[in-house]
Structure formats: structure tokens, C-alpha cells
Amino acid sequence: MSFLELKNITKIYPNGTKAVDETSLNVEDGEFVVFVGPSGCGKSTLLRMIAGLEDITSGEISLDGKVINNIDPSERDVAMVFQNYALYPHMSVYNNMAYGLKNRGISKEDITTKVNDAAELLEIDQLLSRKPSMLSGGQRQRVAMGRAIVRNPKIFLFDEPLSNLDAKLRNQMRLEIKKLQRQMDVTSVFVTHDQTEAMTLGDRIVVINNGIVEQVGTPKDIYSKPNTKFVAEFIGSPQMNLFNCKIENGNAKIGDVHINLENSINIQDASIGVRPDDIQVNQNGKFETKANLVEYLGSDMIIYSSIGNQDFSCKLSSKIDVKAGDNFKFDILSPSVHIFDNTTNKRV
């Protein structure tokens, strides 16, 4: 039995919107799982159902061997970090962290020790007497984390906690969250719409779209073997190129060029997926086309172009000299190709 188990969880809002549809998932003890998906896909709803802030329409959630469907949020022993941190504005940092402990009837001395330990861990021990309004964004984030840590909960829930920070701070906090989670070895569920965060943080990633789990797997699995067209496009930056084509006997035709696939299959309406960095630009390439736009990123550059009437992008080392308007040649190699059936949107 897994530490956190979701069984056929469905959430239908009173207005009839189905936010989460028959979702099942197992999370092991100490695991860091990331829910990722576009806005409104139901990932936050799912997290809030685990926390107990949202009713479950049908299905069953169990935590540490106990069904928690009807248990009050305060008794589930979960801690949550909110997107806007939800710090208590009228309380000092110390009291923000101590409040949950006080409500649990823990003795004053224990509270002081726990809060001080957590504050030290997060390097906010200098700020304990301040009010949240006197803190910077990064410090507030730490306090929000601290409030979760002191409780020593069974599970951490993060609801897009990094999206209010600037890019530099976000990277820094991302590393710290990961480090902290490793150090404390607490099962964590992290919700984000940012695929980079998902890839870097998660032991496993759950890709969600329209209330349905599209794929569950390690970051490597999901990147190298996306199950559906949605996952293929959502994970990876810049996003995967999908070329519509017809496959006959393992022979796909993109523009005027044929690619021989490894297995001989026939699909009337297929998509060939190629990651931008799997497109091999070289002098002898079979494809030739014009670069419409070139984005220079320092070590890399991205070329936006099209074959036939299908747009695509490719990422290559900026040492290669291609300018906007230049013609260039490239190859798409069969091992790096992902094949999807357009009727089911699934991987073949």
C-alpha cells in the first residue's frame, strides 16, 4: 500500500464543471511528485482535495493507510504552501510559524525550539520578530515554508509557490526546496504550470490536462517517451515539433522528403514529433528550407522555419552560422522521432 493513494477521484463543481475526472495515483513515502499542466487543468483542485479544502465528489483518498475523505483539514496532518503564501499579516514571523503548533496544544518550550530550528534551517532566524509586510518576496516564501516545516507533517503540499518570485530567485528557491525535501525526507506534492520546475523538482511528474492524467513517470521517461501529443508538446522547451503526415509501410513523408521509420507501420493520419534539439543541421541534410527567424540565446540559437506549410523550430549551437533568410539543410533521424496517431492523440 502506498503512502498517499488517490482512487478514482472526481470533482464536479456545483455549476457542472468537471475539474478532475476519475484520477488515480499512488505516491510513495518520501517521494517528490509534481503535478504539471496548463492553467485550469485541475491540478490545483486535486491538490486542494488532498489538503481537504475542496470536497471530493467521488473517489477515495487515503494517507498513511487511512481514508481521509471526511477528515477535517486540520486533522489530516498536511501542510500547504500557497501561491500568495497566505502569511498571517497581523502576526510576527515567529507567531506565523508557531500558530499551528499552539493550536495543537504543544508546550511553549517545544514551540520555541521547533520554530527556532526551522528558522535556522531556512536562514530566517534574524527575521522572527518582523511582520510579513516588512519582508521581501523571497523571505516571505521562506516563512511560508517554515510554517509548513515546523508542523512536521506527513505530507507537504505546494500550490505554485514560486510563481510570485522573479526568475533568479525562483531558480534559487527551487534548488532550496529540492534540497530541503531531500534533507527532511517528507513526501511532497508540488503543483506548477512550469515544465522546467516540474522536470527539475520531481522524482515523478504527473502531467494533467482537462482534469485527466495524461502521463505519470520520471522526468526522463516523460521527456523521452511522451505518451500523448499533449505531453509531447507540453514538456520540453522549446516545444516539440509535430509534423502531420501519412505513414505507409514505415515511410513518412514530410514536405517532399521521406523518412524511413524503424518499424513498418501504416497510419493514415499521423504526427511525427521531433524535439528542436534532435534536428541535425548539416551540409548534407536531406531537407532544405529557409530560416524565417533566428533567436540568439548565447550558447544556443533557435531557428524558426517551415517545411511545406508546417512550421517548426530547431535548436542548435550558435557556432553554426545561419542567419534569418539563409537556406539551410538538416536531417531528421529515425531514432529520435516520436510517432503519434492523430485519431487517438496517443503514441504509437
Binding site: 481537504g52 486540520s74 498536511v78 497566505a86 498571517y88 499579516p89 500558530y99 493550536n103
Partner: protein
């Protein structure tokens, strides 16, 4: 420092405004320190006189009324009890009903809110007979309860608290829930401290409202022991003095000045939060 003509003009207007506000009070105060004969012959005074302690002493301690037992001091106490009771209960009840309306999403919350809100259209003066009937049937005439109770429901304060609570982000409640706060604790530990500026502002408004009630205490009280300051203003020191039909204008002005003090004190004590409550919130 040189002033521009427009600046001088604004200052003149402001100074005139200040004088308009302050002068009547100053005249009342100055007049209250004079002998009654002087006032009778010379009219309102601008400069201070010599009868300050005598006049104020008489106001506070002279026994009057039919029973010859009521002093102005006892009226002040009555008014204070009434105003304090009304203000406290109004604030507590409004804060709690707003909490119920905003956070407990029961079915009829919106109609109930509007029902509360339209009571603004039916002030006490309009419903004074039914109110009197109820209070008198309950046997509450000539009691503090009777003075206070019919005035404690407040649509205005409920409305202000409701609007304020609506601006508090939901995550705060959710976070508090996860931290083990039940609905009572959330009210005490979060809403009250967060709205303390609002509480102070409402308390001041409601105190002044209660303090300046005239009609209700007038019909509610037949016993002089329960008379309030504002009622007293009409009736005090109207009798002749030492057999001579000389109006006791000095004492009456002294009484007016004294009657202003309790609300002024409340404002002075609470104004720090009051001003904050009007211009900012602690979020």
C-alpha cells in the same frame, strides 16, 4: 518664505473654516465662565470670566428635578452607560453577523443581508411606537437594558464589516484551517485583530450615535434616575434661581461644554486607529 496668492487664498479659506467650527464652542465656553447677570446684560462673551469653578461645580453637583435627587453628573453616567453599551454591542453583533454572512455560505445569506440592509430605511424614529410597545411589554421601561437593547442592531456596521471581510483573501482562511483553527478561533485570532482599525472607527461612530440619542430615552424613561445628558439639556436649570427670575445661562453653557467631553474623549483615545481605519488596512 514667500506664499503664492493661491496659497494665501487657500489658507484664508481654511482659517475661516476653522473659525467657523471653533468659535461657537469658544463662545459657549467663555460664556459659561461668567456670572448670569453679566450674561443677561452683556450677551455672549468672548473673554473668560471669573465664575468658572462656581458654575461648573453647580452643574455637576446641584440636585434638581422633581425629586431633587438628580444631578448632572448622574445624567453623564447614564449617557455614558447607554452610549458605551450601544457602541460595544453594535460592534460585536455587527462583526459577528458579517462574519456569518461572509464565511458561512448558507442558502439565504444574500437575502438576509439585504433584509438587514433595508432596515437602514426604517430608523428608530419611524418605528418608535412599536418599539416602545415591545420594550414596555417586556417590562424594560426605566432600565438600562431598555435604553440600550432596541438600538444595538446596526445595518451600517454590518455592511462595513461585510465589505471588509470580503477583501480578506480566502487563502488566509484555508491556511488557518490547516493550522487547526476552527471557525471561532479564526474569528478571534484573525478577523478581529485584522479589523481592529475598523472596530475602533465603528466604535466611535456608534458611541456618538448612542450618546446623542434624544427621542428614545425621552419616551423610555419616566424615572429621573435614567435621564441622559441630551434630555437634560432641555430641562436642566430652567427653574428660577433664588426666587429671582434670572435665566441661568452660565450654568447651562457649562452643561453644554461638559456634555461634549465624553465623545471627544472617545475620539481622542481611539483616533489613532480610527484614522488608520479610514485610510488603510493592514494587509
Amino acid at each position: 518664505m514667500k506664499f503664492k496668492p493661491t496659497e494665501i487664498l487657500t489658507h484664508v479659506i481654511l482659517i475661516l473654516g476653522v473659525l467657523l467650527m471653533v468659535l461657537p464652542i469658544w463662545f459657549s465656553f467663555a460664556t459659561s465662565t461668567h456670572d448670569n447677570i453679566e450674561i443677561m446684560t452683556g450677551g455672549m462673551k468672548f473673554f473668560l470670566g471669573e465664575n468658572f469653578s462656581q458654575n461648573y461645580n453647580e452643574v455637576l453637583n446641584e440636585k434638581g428635578g422633581w425629586s431633587e435627587e438628580v444631578t448632572a453628573a448622574s445624567m453623564f453616567i447614564n449617557s455614558f452607560i447607554m452610549a458605551f453599551g450601544i457602541a460595544t454591542l453594535k460592534v460585536v453583533i455587527s462583526a459577528m453577523s458579517a462574519y456569518a454572512l461572509v464565511y458561512f455560505r448558507f442558502k439565504l445569506a444574500v437575502p438576509i443581508f439585504w433584509l438587514i440592509f433595508i432596515t437602514l430605511l426604517v430608523p428608530l424614529e419611524v418605528r418608535i411606537f412599536p418599539s416602545y410597545k415591545i420594550v414596555s411589554d417586556l417590562g424594560l421601561t426605566n432600565t438600562y437594558t431598555g435604553l440600550i437593547l432596541p438600538l444595538v442592531a446596526s445595518a451600517t456596521a454590518t455592511f462595513f464589516f461585510r465589505q471588509y471581510y470580503k477583501t480578506i483573501p480566502d487563502e488566509l482562511l484555508e491556511s488557518a484551517k490547516l493550522d487547526g483553527a476552527n471557525s471561532w478561533r479564526f474569528f478571534i485570532d484573525f478577523l478581529l485583530p485584522l479589523s481592529k482599525t475598523m472596530l475602533a472607527a465603528m466604535f466611535i461612530f456608534m458611541f456618538v450615535y448612542g450618546y446623542s440619542q434624544y427621542l428614545w430615552p425621552l419616551i423610555m424613561t419616566t424615572d429621573e434616575k435614567y435621564w441622559t445628558v441630551v434630555m437634560g439639556m432641555k430641562i436642566i436649570f430652567t427653574e428660577n434661581y433664588e426666587g429671582v427670575a434670572l435665566p441661568r445661562t452660565g450654568e447651562r453653557f457649562a452643561y453644554v461644554i461638559l456634555s461634549m467631553l465624553p465623545p471627544v474623549l472617545v475620539v481622542v483615545i481611539l483616533q489613532r486607529w480610527f484614522i488608520k481605519g479610514l485610510i488603510q488596512t493592514e494587509k
